[in-house]
């Protein structure tokens, strides 16, 4: 009796849709595999040109370079997952780095004390960002663009043109960067630990899953009763803490700290995060991906140096990579969306 014009999909159509679900999960995991493949490709190409590249000590160098950026990338990932961004990470790292260095120079609190203060400072700076975004509802771009300069300015104020040099810093502190745990440099272990803990928490804790929910569908998150404001605030605090940790380790790694430390770090971190497959609109992406992205970028940086290519290309490459990664992701997503509308409906 009824005139249902467009009828049930055949079994093959159902299978196509079934395959689509699987494909999407694959693509997500593919991202990390993809980065690894590109990484291997880069390593292969460069090694052919310059065999010196392929050595344990060189790889160690790369990972050491990456370690601090990776730590910051973990924090940035947490923020980006909620559909926000933190442009002030570079300034937070710099401010904490100088403050810690200064404290160590005066040696008022001892090494553990200085490190603790540094981390707390990072936490506080992140909390201020969180207040601006979650409570005062200032859009994250504006808020963190502002704090990028406010924190850097405070850094200059505190530094007063001076710098903290290696001679000013206690031996044990400097030793952190050169020491190793079971043969692996401490910094790399620290970064790996932080990344793994964060990855675990994001994957398995209730709060972690709720962060993804907020980025995936903010309106639905509210309906389901997720405390979005509190969680966004928390994400910025975590980002600040990560920046704080990186800042605390900065002096040890580089030996000297001035007010310009970590300038421009935010761009490197965002590039790493974006390359690592973290969706700039929030809701998807992993810390491991971000770290792999950071490793890839650091490898390219190292390769440029080894091949005696101008290091001045680095910033341009970071920029181009941000554009390419975001563009490609949008293209892929659009492609799937179009397929879905055609098979999912009539």
């Amino acid at each position: 009796m009824s005139v249902r014009v467009i009828d049930a999909p055949t079994d093959s159509a159902l299978a196509r849709r079934f395959g689509l679900e699987r494909t999407l999960t694959l693509v997500a995991r593919l991202r990390e595999v993809g980065i690894l493949l590109v990484l291997l490709a880069v390593v292969a190409i460069v090694t052919i040109q310059a065999p010196l590249f392929f050595s344990v000590s060189n790889f160690e160098q790369i990972l050491l370079n990456v370690s601090l950026i990776a730590i910051v990338a973990v924090g940035q990932t947490t923020v980006v997952l909620t559909r926000n961004v933190d442009l002030s990470v570079g300034s937070m790292v710099g401010l904490v780095a100088f403050a810690t260095g200064d404290l160590l120079k005066e040696n008022t609190l001892g090494v553990p004390g200085a490190i603790a203060v540094g981390c707390l400072l990072g936490l506080g700076l992140g909390a201020f960002n969180g207040l601006l975004v979650a409570v005062a509802k200032v859009p994250a771009i504006v808020a963190t663009l502002g704090t990028l300069y406010v924190y850097r300015g405070l850094d200059f104020l505190v530094a007063g043109g001076k710098q903290v040099s290696a001679i000013d810093l206690p031996r044990d502190y400097l030793g952190i960067a050169t020491s190793s745990v079971l043969g692996i440099p401490t910094l790399i272990v620290a970064a790996a630990l932080i990344a793994l803990v964060a990855a675990y928490l994001l994957r398995n804790s209730g709060a972690g899953r709720e962060l993804y929910a907020i980025g995936s569908n903010p309106a639905a998150a509210e309906v389901v009763g997720i405390p979005t404001h509190r969680l966004i605030f928390g994400a910025f605090v975590v980002c600040g803490l990560c920046a704080g940790i990186a800042g605390v380790l900065w002096g040890s790694r580089f030996g000297s700290v001035n007010a310009l430390a970590a300038s421009g770090l935010e761009l490197q971190v965002i590039a790493a995060v974006v390359v690592g497959g973290v969706n700039i609109f929030g809701g998807s992406g992993t810390v491991i991906g971000a770290v792999l992205g950071a490793i890839l970028l650091a490898t390219i940086e190292n390769a440029l140096r080894i091949l005696h290519l101008s290091e001045f290309w680095l910033l341009a490459i970071d920029g181009a990579i941000i554009l390419l990664a975001v563009g490609t992701d949008a293209a892929i997503r659009g492609y799937f969306q179009r397929i879905l509308t055609r098979t999912g409906r009539r």
Partner: protein, 331 residues
């Protein structure tokens, strides 16, 4: 459009004038040199490149987008200018070339935002890095000097017989042009419409993509122009010229009353805000505060200019009001 909003704008611009006066008073109390003609002239000179970049940025933000790459385009323009000049190419060729590159940079931004549909925040963050990076590639750490006198005069000398620096003349002309376009022409009307309601604008036959792309191109060209002027003023082309400018430029626009979400703002407000920041910086410089530390104040202004109205709006929303619900409404 003028109706309800006019009242509010008047209030915001008055606030800016008050702020301006307050900072002038503050400045004069910090230093005896503050209220001198030569100081004001100095103050203005330092401001002009940022001021010139703020004008198109205001239009971009009113249209509902943002352009963070302005300072890097300035740097790229400066670097290219220096590079080509050092090669021996004549300036009458270099300068237009640099402006064309500015247009192309803006075009890239525009295409990525309108055709690829990428958010302008991320795109211009990427080009902020890309253009500055290209500037480094072009010129490296070098600086190029040895410019002809007419060129450097254009940068820092005055119009003969007056205390008006040439760049101020350029800025004033541009400001008047922007004032005209935004507030009197149909182009301005379309920009406001896009910013207030992109869908309705599209459904009214406005080519949103084309207009936005033109605005980005304009931003690119004027950033390049600012790069030329800065190079002339410093008598030095460097890849890192203009580093950090984006703060002042964005703050001028937002402090000037332009709504970060689009659809609202005036040129008068932006110009006032430019000078508010200029006076603030000048005052602080005279008080021996380093430019980098001054950024704390400017950054705070940026945050307050957005946080302030939002908090005010929330307070006034909490006031008991008659609720009008409608099935066609979207609130």
């Amino acid at each position: 459009m003028r109706v309800r909003v006019l009242g509010l704008i008047r209030r915001w611009e008055t606030l800016l004038v008050v702020l301006l006066i307050a900072f002038v008073v503050l400045g004069s109390s910090l230093s005896p040199y503050f209220l001198s003609a030569s100081n004001f002239s100095d103050l203005t000179s330092n401001l002009m490149e940022k001021a010139i970049m703020a004008l198109p940025l205001a239009l971009v933000i009113i249209a509902g987008e943002i352009d963070l790459s302005v300072e890097s385009m300035l740097g790229l323009a400066s670097a290219l200018l220096g590079f080509t000049y050092a090669l021996g190419w004549p300036l009458w060729l270099d300068i237009p070339l640099v402006l064309v590159v500015g247009a192309m940079g803006g075009l890239l931004n525009g295409v990525l935002v309108t055709r690829a549909g990428l958010p302008s925040l991320v795109v211009t963050l990427g080009t902020l890095a890309l253009y500055r990076g290209l500037a480094s590639v072009v010129l490296g750490p070098r600086s190029v000097s040895g410019w002809p006198e007419w060129f450097t005069n254009f940068g820092f000398a005055y119009v003969p017989g007056t205390l008006i620096p040439w760049p101020l003349l350029v800025f004033a002309t541009l400001a008047l042009a922007f004032l005209f376009v935004l507030h009197r022409t149909w182009i301005g009307r379309q920009i406001y419409a896009m910013g207030k309601n992109k869908q309705a604008a599209r459904y009214s036959g406005i080519d949103v993509a084309k207009l936005k792309t033109y605005l980005f191109i304009l931003s690119g060209v004027l950033s390049a122009l600012a790069g030329v002027i800065l190079t002339a003023r410093f008598s030095s082309a460097r890849a890192d010229n203009g580093q950090g400018f984006v703060l002042d430029v964005v703050t001028s626009v937002l402090l000037g009353g332009v709504n970060i979400f689009g659809g609202e703002g005036t040129i008068v407000g932006v110009v006032l805000a430019i000078f508010v920041i200029g006076v603030l910086r000048n005052g602080l410089t005279l008080a021996d505060v380093s430019p980098d530390t001054q950024s704390v104040a400017v950054g705070a202004l940026l945050i307050l200019s957005v946080a302030g109205p939002t908090l005010v709006r929330r307070i006034s929303a909490a006031w008991p009001r008659r609720q009008l619900t409608s099935p066609v409404s979207n609130s």
